[in-house]
């Protein structure tokens, strides 16, 4: 009789557990994205990444106060020890005690929740199970890119959603980045901790530079004074994000930014006669041009010259991916015009319409998708025009910001 009671109790417990929805990869990922907006934490972080002289293990004490404030005290290696970084959501303040120097640079930005959809579009996200990190239960997620980008694993705290551990690997470097919280606490972090130190006599240097964001490539061309080129095609999963003009001394550079939702790529263009080829790096060929490949930390760069332009593409990506972007940039205006005509003929659309979408930064395959879905009347995101896409995105970003600020207010 006692056994029957226990069995019945067990069945009730199982039924109850089934009634609770289990974690989904999307739910865990969304939790990780939202975590910085709702959770303070203090942790010791140990990460291993490529350094100036081979793999480097960095040890740091980190504090986060929701929603956008971060403090990092670097403890090791010796070249970084003592460096203090405070990111107040507007600026990054870097204090170097050994140099008696305080540097003001732009903030590393805020959590952009609108990128969640793109992460899901460009990666296969799987929930592999659970694990324990720094004494806490964590969900283990894997993100497999649809293109040649890095594969990632993330250990996400079951209660708070904070990423406790992460790894990145690609075919060229194997596992090139690992980061772990060896100790973490989720108590409220006081605001005073994010005060920027200003010891007597400290030199304060501003490195905020000048940048102008624009909506179209033609506007960017006017800003920089030369025709700006967009890649014909992008690696799978990547999309155009924004365009801006930046200053390099007296020279204006055009910068196009792309993202797969997880990591970004920046494509720089500037007149070759104004900016020399940075020395060093591994020499390789891109089409008919000689390029130099460089590595700085987890980032890779390719720098080359074509059509009178000095071009550089930067990102946390294998060289194969950067090379794909580089091969797709052709500064020859007649080649661009030919391609516009070809796509217009293929889609049965006016060439002006294709050129307009190109001016919005879209690659030719994105343009084909937009025009095809418009022709077939498919009710998908791709059926909307590029301009309304931008408007939709901006509307969504505004909604997310207003949602985030309503969550932040006490």
């Amino acid at each position: 009789m006692k056994g029957l009671v226990l069995l019945a109790a067990g069945l009730v417990a199982v039924a109850g557990a089934r009634a609770q929805p289990g974690p989904t990869p999307l739910g865990v990922l969304r939790g990780a994205l939202e975590a910085p907006l709702r959770t303070d934490y203090e942790a010791i972080q140990v990460l291993t990444a490529p350094g100036p002289n081979g793999p480097e293990t960095v040890r740091a004490a980190v504090w986060h106060r929701r929603p956008h404030t971060y403090r990092t005290e670097f403890l090791a290696p010796p070249r970084l020890a003592g460096r203090l970084v405070v990111d107040d959501g507007t600026y990054t303040w870097q204090y170097e005690p050994s140099l008696h120097l305080l540097v003001q640079a732009p903030s590393l930005g805020r959590s952009d929740l609108t990128l969640l959809g793109q992460v899901l579009d460009s990666h296969t996200v799987r929930l592999l199970g659970t694990d324990v990190v720094a004494g806490r239960q964590a969900y283990l997620l894997s993100l497999l890119p649809h293109g040649p980008g890095p594969t990632r694993r993330m250990w996400v705290d079951r209660v708070t959603g904070v990423v406790l551990k992460s790894e990145a690997a690609d075919v060229e470097r194997g596992v090139y980045f690992t980061s772990t919280f060896t100790r973490v606490s989720f108590l409220p972090v006081p605001q005073e901790l994010f005060r920027v130190p200003r010891p007597r006599g400290v030199r304060v240097l501003k490195l905020t530079g000048e940048t102008v964001r624009v909506r179209t490539l033609s506007e960017l061309s006017r800003q920089v004074g030369f025709p700006v080129v967009a890649p014909r095609e992008l690696p799978p999963g990547f999309r155009f994000r924004s365009a801006r003009a930046a200053a390099w001394g007296a020279t204006r550079a055009a910068v196009l930014e792309f993202s797969d939702g997880f990591s970004g790529l920046s494509l720089f263009q500037m007149p070759a006669q104004r900016v020399g080829d940075p020395p060093g790096g591994e020499v390789m060929r891109i089409g008919g041009a000689v390029a130099r490949a460089h590595a700085v930390g987890t980032l890779r760069l390719l720098v080359w010259e074509r059509g009178g332009l000095r071009l550089a593409v930067v990102g946390e990506a294998p060289l194969a991916l950067l090379r794909e972007v580089a091969l797709s940039v052709d500064p020859d205006p007649s080649a661009e015009a030919r391609r516009v005509q070809e796509v217009a003929r293929w889609a049965g659309a006016p060439a002006d319409r294709v050129a307009e979408l190109r001016d919005r930064g879209l690659s030719f395959s994105e343009i084909r998708a937009v025009l095809r879905s418009k022709a077939t009347g498919e009710a998908s995101l791709r059926t909307v025009s590029a301009s309304s896409l931008v408007e939709e995105l901006e509307r969504f970003q505004r909604a997310v910001r207003s949602w985030a600020s309503s969550r932040e207010s006490p």
Binding site: L115, A250, S263, G276, V303
Partner: protein, 159 residues
């Protein structure tokens, strides 16, 4: 000695430093004989350039510039308009020279800062994913800032 000090000493000799930087350079000069030597060499070059006699502009240069600007031969005697054109041509030449010098400086800077400007711009203003590791981005940004400012790394200063 690093490039920041080289630039500061050069600016110091040109009288283009703030009072704070002046004090900083003078202290540094007292402590570092190699910097002092560089300062003396630069001062010598300046003295040499200043001692060169001023040269008259050749007459045919005037003719060539005026031809280029107006597409016609200059009048033998300068009128008010001629003087104005001369001034315009001089200003244009100065702009071209300035741009050329600045362009040259940019090329030099590219060699000096290597790829760090690209890395810095990417880290500071790019589109990092919301799940990107901030600490590793901070290392890229802050290392880049020191290179762009011509500051030695903390460890190099300690050595």
């Amino acid at each position: 000695m690093n490039r920041r000090w080289e630039r500061l000493v050069s600016a110091y000799l040109d009288g283009e430093v703030t009072p704070e930087e002046r004090r900083e350079v003078e202290t540094r000069l007292r402590q570092h004989p190699d910097l002092q030597q560089l300062c003396e060499e630069l001062a010598q070059v300046r003295r040499l350039l200043q001692s060169l006699p001023p040269r008259e502009m050749p007459q045919e240069l005037e003719s060539r510039i005026l031809q280029a600007v107006r597409g016609q031969r200059p009048r033998s005697k300068q009128t008010g308009t001629g003087r104005l054109l001369w001034a315009a041509a001089g200003a244009a030449a100065a702009v071209v020279l300035f741009s050329w010098v600045r362009g040259g400086l940019d090329r030099l800077r590219a060699a000096e800062t290597g790829v760090h400007w690209f890395v810095w711009e990417h880290a500071a203003r790019g589109t990092p994913g919301p799940l990107a590791d901030r600490t590793v981005l901070q290392v890229a940004l802050t290392d880049g800032s020191l290179v762009l400012l011509g500051e030695p790394r903390a460890s190099e200063e300690a050595r």
